[in-house]
């Protein structure tokens, strides 16, 4: 049985590997992270019921946001041991070559 921090680590790597994800989010009102001793995985909150994944997506979007969320979910579902998954888009990051 994987610990919360192990799940958070795997989920973070899987989310970052998804097309359209620029970085992990940090949450808006409270820090979104999973802690274990001195270690912290930002952007993933793991509890016994659910896994909350906070991401910053890249702009221009390679595909619609629900599709990006679907891709993230496909990657992380096998790793979360039956927990409910919540994908939260915290922000957009404009690419360096976009003159906005």
């Amino acid at each position: 049985m994987a610990t919360d921090i192990q799940v958070a680590r795997v989920v973070s790597v899987a989310a970052l590997a998804t097309e359209g994800v620029h970085a992990m989010g940090r949450g808006r009102y409270v820090e979104a992270a999973t802690y274990d001793g001195a270690e912290k995985v930002s952007g993933v909150v793991v509890d016994p019921e659910k896994v909350e994944v906070h991401v910053v997506v890249r702009w221009p979007l390679p595909k619609p946001i629900p599709e990006i969320a679907g891709s993230i979910r496909e990657r992380i579902v096998p790793q979360v041991g039956g927990r409910r998954t919540i994908i939260m888009v915290d922000d957009l990051e404009v690419g360096a070559d976009e003159n906005l």
């Binding site: 599709e67 969320a69 998954t85 919540i86 939260m88 957009l92």
Partner: protein, 190 residues
């Protein structure tokens, strides 16, 4: 409502603290105050309350007192309803288990509005709702004498198409136009 509750609790606890300080001062006869000196004011207040209760029992309350009691009851009812009403969500529900922040929706609406050549400037407000999608209020500044109805329709369509292509659901989209002087807006010529 949570902020209101917090303010009420802070005031209540501050009041209790002050009362506690007074109780200590009077109980230990500090600074020349003693509990026996409180008897007269307590008796006076008690007699006032007794008189009020007597009037309530006999149904001979002053009209002003009745109005005040009704207002207090109404205030209590309003606060109860507000307390029971679920809080407005902070994030916009897109799909089952997928959410975006209001800021992301706001940025996307802003980009869509910026594409329209008729819009000299704009301001966007978004509100998350319990159901899927965000409520968006868009105010666009346009040149004087333009056909604002047509601009509103075009802008609405542009924003809906733009957000639709990005998969951001909008449950309600309000577009308002305000005539403005191009010299005072962010964008003068598109």
């Amino acid at each position: 409502m949570r902020i209101f509750n917090r303010i009420v609790m802070i005031l209540l606890l501050a009041g209790l603290f002050v009362l506690g300080v007074y109780a200590v001062v009077y109980a230990f006869d500090l600074f020349g105050y003693s509990l026996s000196s409180l008897l007269d004011p307590i008796k006076a207040a008690g007699s006032g309350a007794q008189g009020f209760m007597r009037d309530v029992q006999s149904g001979s309350l002053a009209p002003l007192a009745i109005v005040v009691l009704i207002l207090v009851a109404l205030l209590g009812l309003i606060l109860l309803i507000l307390e029971l009403k679920p809080a407005t969500p902070r994030r916009v529900r897109m799909d089952k288990g997928t959410f975006v922040t209001r800021g992301v929706v706001q940025e996307e609406v802003s980009k869509a509005a910026g594409q329209s050549p008729d819009v000299l400037g704009h301001s966007v407000k978004t509100q998350a709702q319990r159901k899927t999608g965000a409520r968006v209020d868009l105010e666009a500044k346009v040149r004087r004498g333009e056909d604002t109805g047509a601009i509103q329709r075009n802008l609405r369509r542009t924003v809906q198409e733009y957000l639709g292509s990005r998969g951001i659901p909008v449950s309600k989209l309000n577009v308002n136009t305000v005539e403005a002087d191009p010299r005072q807006t962010k964008t003068r010529v598109q």
